[in-house]
Amino acid sequence: MKLKCKHVWEHISEYIDNSVDAKLREEIERHLEHCEICSAILDSTRNILVLTADERTFELPVGYSKRLHERLTKELEGSEKDSKKE
């Protein structure tokens, strides 16, 4: 049985994650071979994920790490004093 586009769309996320079973995977791949629209949707979705994983897309604030460790140092020193008081 041939898959409809809508059926492919429903599984596109799981297909990308490689978590569809072998049979469905094969059906989807067969569909993609002749369906330009679904291929384009798959490509564009994958591109978004590549871009998301690119560290330049979601950057940390400048100086974040330094400030974090400074704060942590204060906390560690504070707890040191507390334990000495006990």
């Binding site: 809508k6 769309w9 429903e10 596109i12 996320s13 799981e14 990308i16 994650d17 978590s19 993609l32 071979e33 330009e36 629209i37 291929s39 384009a40 949707i41 798959l42 490509d43 564009s44 979705t45 994958r46 591109n47 978004i48 994920l49 590549v50 871009l51 998301t52 994983a53 690119d54 330049r56 897309t57 979601f58 940390l60 604030p61 974040y64 790490s65 400030r67 974090l68 460790h69 704060r71 942590l72 140092t73 906390e75 560690l76 707890s79 040191e80």
Partner: protein, 208 residues
């Protein structure tokens, strides 16, 4: 690169044994993850940084309650999520809507946008700065329940089980929400992903 888990367990034992300064080393591989987790909830850099600091301090103070039945990264993510939600609730306390009431409905269109004149996006196109800006904006506009899943899975690259554990939901809910998040982003970003570049097969061709 994340430390080997055995090394991590050793570090935790030493910190609890009194070598407190080793906590700096324990947390270092997860700094980005903690920040992004809080950011996924608060959507604001300054608030996310404050929240991330608070989450790390909280992890330090509660380290003795880490039992090792979950991965340290998952435990830490849960703390970051709680910190983010606490701040969000505080910010929203005057507003009527509560994040707890935000659940996915069955209605809504979660079909991707078809691209009729799609051509392979060349690698260079993904380098464009405005595309990254558009993606950040689109992620910020996602409904909260989809945004947090998307960031944990596709940005921090937690697996389905870890994400489910960190958020206290089922693996199936993670999959459904992730699917919707990705589709919503695809729809939103299609105009930016279209290109007039000549068609070619390559980078993300179907052959992959």
């Amino acid at each position: 690169m994340r430390m080997a888990e055995t090394n991590e367990a050793g570090l935790i034992a030493r910190i609890l044994g009194g070598e407190k300064e080793l906590f700096h080393e324990l947390i270092r591989p997860y700094e980005r993850m903690v920040y992004l987790t809080v950011f996924s909830i608060l959507k604001n850099e300054a608030d996310a940084e404050d929240g991330a600091q608070e989450a790390v301090i909280s992890a330090y103070r509660h380290l003795s309650s880490f039992r090792g039945d979950a991965k340290f990264s998952t435990w830490l993510t849960t703390i970051a999520i709680n910190e983010g939600r606490k701040r969000l609730r505080k910010a929203k306390s005057v507003a009527e809507d509560s994040i707890d009431e935000e659940v996915e409905g069955h209605e809504g269109d979660y079909s991707p946008a078809p691209l009729t004149d799609w051509r392979e996006v060349p690698l260079e196109a993904l380098e464009r700065k405005e595309l990254r800006e558009a993606l950040r904006g689109a992620v910020a506009e996602l409904p909260g329940i989809y945004r947090e899943i998307f960031i944990l899975r596709d940005l921090e690259e937690l697996n389905v089980e870890e994400t489910a554990q960190a958020l206290g939901i089922t693996a199936n809910v993670v999959k459904v929400r992730l699917h919707r998040a990705r589709i919503l982003l695809q729809k939103r970003l299609v105009p930016y992903l279209k290109t007039t570049a000549p068609a070619r097969r390559g980078f993300f061709g179907r052959a992959l």
